[in-house]
Amino acid sequence: MSTRTPETVTEHTFYLNLGPQHPSTHGVLRLFVKLDGEYVMEVDPIIGYGHRGHEKMAESHFYEQFLPNTPRMDYLSGMLFNHAYVAAVEKMTGIKPPPRAEYIRVVCAELNRVASHLMWLGAYLMDLGGVTPFFYAFDDRENILDILDRVSGSRLTYNYCRFGGVARDVDDTFIGATRDFIKRLRGRWKDYNNLVTKNVIFIHRTRDVGVIDKDIALRFGCTGPVLRAAGVPYDVRRVEPYSVYSELDFEIPTGVNGDALDRYMIRLREMEQSLRIIEQALDRLPGGPIRTPTPNKVRPPKGDYYFAAESARGALGYYIVSDGSEYPYRLKVRVPSYGNLQTLTEVLPGTLVADTICILGSIDIVVPEIDR
């Protein structure tokens, strides 16, 4: 635990700020690290540099006005956050979106999950010093952005879902482009494996590095690939199936010893599972309307509600307390990276500085998501 008792400073330990502006802290996270030479003695992640006050904003905005905020919290899996918020409000108000809208939402959400994992792959390899995979991963990611841009109008911060359905319908070029993309990405696994997975330096840099086992994950409340790498198959899409995930079959890849290499392998396999989900969803895409008529200002009944979903980084949840008016009384977003980042205080002491960056990259955090 990060106790800050000022004990006598032995001469060769010094404090280093892997500060808010650092090439590989994925945004504005500051790791206040106490170093003994190259070895990390104690780390105190200082966050808040990306805090924008989302929850305070929710209390003075309608439910509809909060929609654009959701993709800006975790801008790498914006569609997943958007989908979860809309599904939460629909559950509160009892609005039933048409099946076509549900399938479109699942397709776009899974595409966004693949894009988020690709972005992570590029950034993670760059943290380890290999620059080229970043460009290949971004090359594939641009295809997804084109597909989602065509239907939602934006590349990163998708405001595509509405209460009761989606904003625009999906046409054949979208479906055709998605199928081509799936074929193309499946062809690229061979390149990624040759360039990264079979790369001996990569394996040595990530095997048995930053081991997060079941007990640490339980104590810190980690979810997502970090928890699945420890061998626990916890995926909200499987445990609490929402939307149409119950009708689609996909596996939950789990790792064995929870080190950085396992987290890498899990994310690759998760991308493959997402492609399978997209294919099934596209095959079963029903016709019909894309949105049920809903009142302009949604007024959910009184009481508090919790809705859990699976974002690219773990279990995401919206805890909404409604007082019957069109403004949420309190809106708390349970964010997966919050618990994942905390494990650093337990896992990092004793590792080298190079490993610190490797572990930080392997748990895949997005800072404005943690700071909200």
Binding site: G303, Y329, R372
Partner: protein
């Protein structure tokens, strides 16, 4: 240790009347417990032994005083428990940092945004706002909010 065993154990800690089962489809959680602040540590310990993990700690500000909301969940089955503690204005809470390490940051965040102090928390300082901030933003008096209600208006079905 499934949900029923934990439920029985919790009923010994807290008198049975304050353990309400909630319908999952509407509220997203199966069990809701209205606990006293003194019972909190034992509830957390019971959940920890049952293999639950801490999903989040937050607070909701009401006219009588903030309600602290603790939520626990299990990995392999849907078994979400919410623990609500009604606090008077300015009252503090015992820290469950010893039981769940995740609680350390959640408690610091609740202190930062709501001003609720947690006693014997090893390192209670602001988490999100700059160190020299002197206000707690998520309190309803701060800034413009739509409404500032009492807990009884919202939790109509249970006796608040």
């Amino acid at each position: 240790m499934s949900l029923e065993d934990l439920k029985k154990e919790l009923e010994e800690i807290v008198e049975p009347s304050s353990v309400h089962t909630r319908d999952y489809d509407r509220n997203g959680c199966l069990l809701e417990i209205r606990a006293e602040r003194s019972r909190l540590l034992s509830i957390a310990q019971a959940a920890r032994d049952a293999g639950f993990f801490l999903e989040f700690i937050t607070a909701v500000d009401f006219t009588e005083g903030p309600i602290a909301v603790y939520q626990f969940n299990e990995c392999n089955a849907v078994s979400r428990i919410q623990v609500k503690v009604q606090l008077a204005r300015g009252e503090s809470l015992p820290s469950i940092g010893r039981v769940y390490d995740a609680a350390l940051w959640y408690e610091r965040e609740v202190f930062d945004l709501f001003g609720i102090r947690f006693d014997n928390h090893p390192d209670l300082r602001r988490l999100l706002l700059p160190e020299d901030a002197d206000f707690h933003p998520l309190l309803k008096e701060y800034g413009k909010v739509h409404a500032f209600r009492s807990a009884r208006e919202i939790y109509v079905d249970q006796d608040a």
